[in-house]
């Protein structure tokens, strides 16, 4: 392998100095004269028709400039999902509808000279509702005579809206029933996940204005600037040419900003008043009216032969997509497609399920994208199977997991809301992840320790193994443009959307390595739809892998141009030249700096702009792999679960920037531990969110950390840029099954409903007594 100077180095984030000094880099760190402040009136009813909206009193408040509601906005069916076109999510949403479908649904928006006036006006709007029967339990959604949540005639793309079904699938490979009946060992259970929120520290925010050409500029905290541009254009019947979306620094996304939630309202306000407009969600609004993770009920049945070889796997999913179907079917497909191929030895597989509407807030894309829920069920069922066999759960996994050079029929059968793409795993470090993880964790030693500590505590250990994907193959495209200035520095224009992950830095490292100069010589621009080439955006674990391929290709082309200019200078074949640390050398050792090349090509001879664009479309979605290990201590009197030790070994191919890769692992891990132990949005019997704030919805703090060890396991993915695969999502899937399995080991109780709060664990312990 060629020695690398930039790839594999923990280069400091290029935006780091601006971020640690609090520069005005986010959407809201910006103000325009005459800016209007928007506030939204949210539905107080779970399911109702709007008979009348009375804005008389609200309009008469001083400073009120515009009130929008279903009576005065275009009626266009669309999906808020920021996905490639045509979106695999149903067109079941409107800017405002005549109907509300959950407590927190949009009813109207007020734009005023200041925020206080806007809020006062919102409070003065009178809405006359005609209440309809509501559905709060996903099981009720498909019952005969269930109320129909989407009875609008315009709905498109839902499987059977008359029965509240967004998606349905029954995929069969072989004969699961017969195989299960013949299996020596069986495991079975139903696992339940909760409503959880992304909790980006910066909530959704949009500022819009008209530029000097009367074009609409949308400054948005988004993961998907290009999808946002396309969707705004269609909704408002404005040519794409007239819309510019700018993504400044984003204060976290995690999937929640792969949605078009506020852009349409601000844009309408700006188009109608010709004034700048701004809407920011409060924390409460973010919890209730932004997006959530899909709650699922997943039944898994496994069958194995006497030696522990899996014969049959069945996964039955009931997913609750709330009032709207955004990302509903794709998340559900991923629940199977990102989990079942892990155990490719089973020849009988069935994946069946429904995605249903309910009158609750709306799940969408969430880091992990369905795999989180799937792994909870699958990996807990694996431990049940191991327990029945009296086998070390680690050994059971080793007997069954996928390996390099192998494939799974699931890859081709299950894609993103449609069929997938056939692929063979070309890099898999899972064996080493398990090996190194168990050693670091002291798995064998800890399993010999007594479970009981004194009279009131128990300890146990658990593990799980995981895979994810890297990009959506043959669907999503990424492009990059790279341009050299006369001083030999570079501008890298990306549609790839850095939302805090450090992708700007990683992609600059790929360009720097390819050309042969330090990363600091790059200025990265992401993203501005007027200047960046297209990129699908930040989702599906695709930025390093897919956008990285585009950057690599563009950088190769630029390198060729540089060598071409140098070859003319030296009167030699360009192929005889080398670039090192920004200096071109010929075989005699003569030097030419990139600055000399830049000035020559700008001003002196053979004049040309050294620059290139390139696009990439992935043909595969190579999975990263990971093994998770945890030790927990349970207080048997209170049910409090405390994770003590957590070891993650992870194969993301070659880590372009090891520190940033570690950051992805840690962040997703801590988020996942939050899902497992504390995070859950709760609702009243009328569908009102009970805990939409940080006091009552607990995410982990600096006081809640176990001892953590992260072990990078390098493999070389031949299809990835410099051997890289993805790392952004995979590790969020680990804590639910790993901690559940550790509780199982400690107490003999399988916690099948997340999160494992003290109350739930205590009740389970009491039932078991």
């Amino acid at each position: 392998m060629v020695s690398r100077t930039v790839v594999g180095q923990s280069v400091d984030k290029l935006d780091g100095p601006a971020l640690v000094t609090g520069q005005a880099v986010y959407t809201d760190d910006f103000s325009l004269p005459g800016m209007l402040f928007g506030k939204i009136l949210w539905s107080s009813r779970a399911h109702a028709r709007i008979r009348a909206i009375d804005t008389f009193a609200a309009e008469r408040l001083p400073g009120i400039r515009l009130i929008l509601h279903h009576g005065n906005v275009p009626r266009v069916a669309y999906t808020t999902a920021g996905q490639g076109f045509p979106e695999p999510s149903p067109y079941d949403s409107f800017i405002f509808d005549r109907k509300v479908r959950f407590v927190g649904d949009r009813v109207a928006a007020v734009f005023a000279d200041n925020l206080i006036a806007a809020q006062e006006a919102v409070d003065l709007i009178r809405v006359e509702y005609e209440d309809l029967p509501a559905i709060f339990q996903p099981e009720e959604a498909t019952q005969p005579n269930a109320p129909i949540i989407h009875d609008e005639e315009e709905i498109r793309g839902a499987f059977d809206p008359g029965h509240n079904l967004v998606s349905h699938l029954d995929l069969k490979i072989g004969d699961v029933e017969q195989s299960l009946a013949q299996a020596t060992y069986q495991a079975e259970g139903t696992w339940i996940t909760q409503f959880a929120q992304h909790v980006p520290m910066e909530t959704h925010i949009v500022i819009t204005y008209l530029d000097e050409w009367s074009r609409l500029v949308v400054r948005s905290s988004t993961q998907v600037p290009f999808h946002a541009r396309r969707i705004i254009s269609r909704l408002l019947d404005l040519p794409i040419q007239k819309v510019r979306v700018i993504k400044p620094r984003v204060g976290g996304g995690f999937g929640g900003k792969q949605e078009i939630l506020l852009e349409d309202l601000c844009a309408l306000a700006t188009l109608r008043t010709r004034r700048p407009a701004r809407i920011e969600l409060s924390r409460k609004e973010e919890f209730v009216s932004a997006r959530l993770m899909h709650p699922m009920k997943i039944q898994v049945r496994l069958g194995a032969d006497s030696g522990g070889q899996l014969q049959a796997m069945e996964m039955r999913v009931l997913a609750n997509t709330g009032a709207y179907g955004t990302h509903g079917s794709t998340v559900f497909f991923n629940t199977g497609s990102k989990t079942l191929p892990l155990y490719n030895k089973a020849s009988h597989v069935r994946f069946v399920g429904d995605v249903v509407y309910t009158n609750l807030p709306v799940p969408g894309a969430y880091r992990g994208y369905g795999a989180t829920e799937g792994y909870f069920a699958l990996e807990c069922a694996m431990d049940q199977l191991a327990a029945k066999m009296g086998m070390d759960p680690l050994l059971l996994r080793r007997k069954n997991h996928i390996r390099e050079g192998e494939t799974s029929p699931i890859f081709i059968k299950l894609g993103e809301g449609r069929e997938g793409v056939d692929q063979t795993v070309q890099s898999c470090g899972l064996d080493r992840c398990i090996e190194l993880g168990m050693k670091a964790f002291k798995w064998d030693e800890k399993r010999k320790n007594p479970r009981r500590i004194g009279s009131d505590r128990a300890r146990g250990v658990g593990m799980s193994i995981l895979m994810q994907g890297s990009s959506i193959p043959r669907v999503d495209m990424a492009a990059a443009n790279l341009r050299m200035a006369e001083d030999g520095s570079f501008h890298l224009f990306l549609g790839a959307t850095d939302i805090g992950t450090g992708s700007d830095t990683i992609l600059a490292q790929i360009a720097a390595e390819t050309i042969g100069l330090p990363t600091q010589r790059f200025t990265v621009h992401s993203s501005d739809t007027d200047f960046s080439p297209f990129d699908k955006g930040a989702y599906a674990s695709s930025t390093t892998y897919l956008s990285g391929q585009a950057v690599y290709k563009a950088a190769l082309a630029v390198r060729k141009q540089i060598l071409g200019v140098a070859g003319l200078w030296f009167h030699v074949e360009p192929s005889t030249l080398e670039i090192c640390q920004g200096v071109v050398f010929n075989r005699q050792g003569a030097r030419l700096t990139l600055e000399e090349i830049g000035y020559r090509s700008y001003y002196l001879a053979d004049q040309q702009q050294i620059e290139a664009s390139a696009s990439a479309l992935s043909q595969a979605s190579p999975p990263p792999f990971s093994a998770h290990f945890a030790e927990v201590e349970i207080d048997l009197e209170t049910g409090i679960v405390r994770p003590l030790d957590y070891v993650v070994a992870v194969d993301c191919g070659v880590a372009i920037n090891p520190e940033l890769a570690r950051g992805q692992v840690l962040g997703s891990l801590i988020n996942g531990i939050g899902f497992a132990l504390s995070e859950e949005l709760l609702f009243s019997s009328r569908g009102v969110a009970l805990n939409p704030n940080f006091l009552d919805y607990k995410i982990l703090t600096s006081l809640d950390l176990p001892r953590i060890e992260i072990i990078p396991v390098e493999t070389n993915e031949p299809t990835g840029p410099y051997g890289a695969k993805s790392i952004g999502e995979i590790c969020i899937n680990g804590p639910l099954p790993t901690l559940a399995n550790a509780i199982f080991d400690a107490t003999g109780i399988q916690m099948k409903e997340a999160p494992f709060t003290a109350e739930r664990v205590w009740r389970a312990l009491k039932r078991n007594e």
Binding site: G22, Q23, M201, T701, S702, L705
Partner: protein, 157 residues
């Protein structure tokens, strides 16, 4: 009403402060964009933390009128992009910064801790960050960065 106080060491007088306005709103209205986090406004996330007479507090929980005659420091106290404070450099070195939104507040709490106690132990460091929510990093990176600072000889910061 009028408000006179010291902002990052400079005597500051603002005329257009309304009674009942919180400090966060007033600071951002006067283009102190370095104070982030104007969405929870409940003191729950810690992103808008400033130093009030050297003590870290979420500025959304302080009535602007209460800082009359007092010292308010924002992240500008530490460094600028071309002259980073060693603590800021340590945060970057340890990968403590991802989206960065919570970072100015965290840095101020960490700085206040190190001023008060140059060699804090891990518990004290974790306590000092406990009022700051971060969804990107997992906190370990900030703790490690502050630990590195705590190992420096006195006065080296």
């Amino acid at each position: 009403m009028q408000l006179s106080f010291k902002l990052n060491g400079s005597a500051t007088q603002w005329e257009d402060v309304y009674p009942g306005e919180n400090l966060l709103e007033v600071l951002r209205r006067h283009d102190c964009w370095e104070v982030k986090g104007n969405n929870c406004t409940n003191g729950e996330c810690g992103a808008c933390t400033i130093l009030l007479d050297g003590i870290p507090v979420p500025s959304c929980t302080v009535f602007a009128a209460r800082v009359e005659g007092r010292n308010v420091d924002t992240i500008r106290l530490l460094g600028d992009p071309d002259h980073l404070h060693p603590l800021q450099q340590a945060f970057l070195r340890h990968g403590a910064v991802q989206c960065g939104y919570c970072i100015p507040g965290m840095l101020l709490s960490a700085h206040a801790l190190l001023v008060r106690n140059p060699h804090p132990n891990r518990d004290e460091i974790q306590q000092s960050l406990s009022g700051h929510l971060c969804r990107c990093t997992g906190y370990l990176q900030q703790i490690e960065a502050i630990e590195e600072m705590a190992r420096l000889p006195e006065g080296a910061e």
